[in-house]
Symmetry: C2
DNA sequence: TGAGAAATAGGGGGAAACCCCCAAAAAGCT
DNA sequence: AGCTTTTTGGGGGTTTCCCCCTATTTCTCA
């Protein structure tokens, strides 16, 4: 069972900042979890939880940037808002290039931060929605046997059964059987469906 | 005929900066064009020319940010490198969100800038390559008549001719004729091909 | 070692798609 | 008005696909 209520994960080594952010976010009825360091958060985080991250760039040990890059490498779709105390253009650019959702300077306007968090949560909802659809399809394609995968590739590349059979050194009948099983396992209602699902999967695999 | 040699478009109101950048870029055998203001560049720029833009954020009239946003709205695929004299995180974030290729602070290391320019030009090459492929396909789909487009939509959504005919109030024979013309005009070698081309076009239309 | 799945292959038949031919009404464009 | 394109429809045949059934060999896993 997945959670539906999003959580704002606050990561900052300064207890005063954590408390103040917790209070601010809770004031608009948001769930908040605070962590004193990036590794502490990474340890506790369940990848299925929706939400967004609010993290300070400058922290002892792992910086906010490194946390953001670590989350990205784990293909976590959690939007990361990075907060900085001192103007550092280099860091801002690096963070944005690394896919950070935003990069804001202290002191920030409370309402502006809340708006930003809402946008991040909205983005996260959309991402998760797409992800769920993607996983449903992937799960069905995972059911395919190696041979069925080979046949699938040739089907999607537009080959007729006759040439698929020749290509794989099989009889047309066998290809027909594989093809039928591919359509059944992937729950494709038509060839067009099948091709669309495959291209969708290819998009997010690269 | 398209140009193959890329050009670096330098946009800066300071003649000394223009000259120094021109000299630097020319020293590695790059073509350079300089402009004293954003509108001046926009006026002179031919959208088919490959290259990248080097622009200062702070200029009288139109800023580097505005230039970058204007280029983006024209669906110009020219990578924009924005140069700033003073640290401004807000601007850096806005630029990166707006799709700037990079945002660097003065004074910059000459070699670092040259490397950056080369990366931007490489990105531009890739973008143009994809764009050209896309346009070739688009041009073929533009040949379709309204009726053929309707039939195409239903084909791609997986409907068999029988239901397409019923759906559009036509005989199966007519649908067959339209379908054949769709395959011919789009130069699709198979249904799989057709679906792939349509999904590719849909990707870049949204 | 035995059950089940995967891979192989066939028969037969029906549905769908694809291929050529044709033709005529309707709409658009000089 | 005359020409072109579009849209419409058909005849007839070939190819491909899809679905029912059976059957053997191989492989894996419990």
């Amino acid at each position: 069972m997945e959670e539906h209520k999003p959580t704002v994960f606050v990561v900052d080594d300064d207890p005063a900042v954590r408390d103040s952010l917790r209070w601010l976010l809770a004031s608009v009825d948001l769930d908040v979890e605070t962590y004193a360091s990036a590794p502490e958060f990474l340890d506790a985080y369940d990848p299925d939880k929706p939400g967004c991250v609010l993290v300070d760039v400058r922290m002892p040990g792992m910086s906010g940037l490194e946390l953001q890059e670590e989350l990205a490498s784990r293909s976590t779709k959690l939007p990361v808002i990075i907060i900085t105390g001192h103007s550092d253009v280099q860091m801002a650019v690096r963070a944005m290039k690394g896919g950070a959702f935003d990069f804001i300077e202290k002191p920030f306007n409370d309402q502006a931060l809340l708006d930003l968090v809402q946008k991040a949560l909205e983005r996260n909802r959309e991402t998760i929605e797409a992800q769920v659809e993607h996983e449903h399809i992937q799960r069905r394609f995972d059911l395919l046997s190696p041979r069925e995968r080979q046949v699938l590739d040739l089907i999607v590349s537009g080959e007729p059964n006759k040439r698929i059979a020749f290509n794989l050194g099989l009889s047309e009948k066998t290809v027909e059987a594989h093809r039928a099983r591919v359509m059944e396992k992937t729950e494709a209602g038509s060839l067009a469906d099948l091709v669309k699902m495959v291209t969708l999967l290819q998009q997010h695999s690269s």
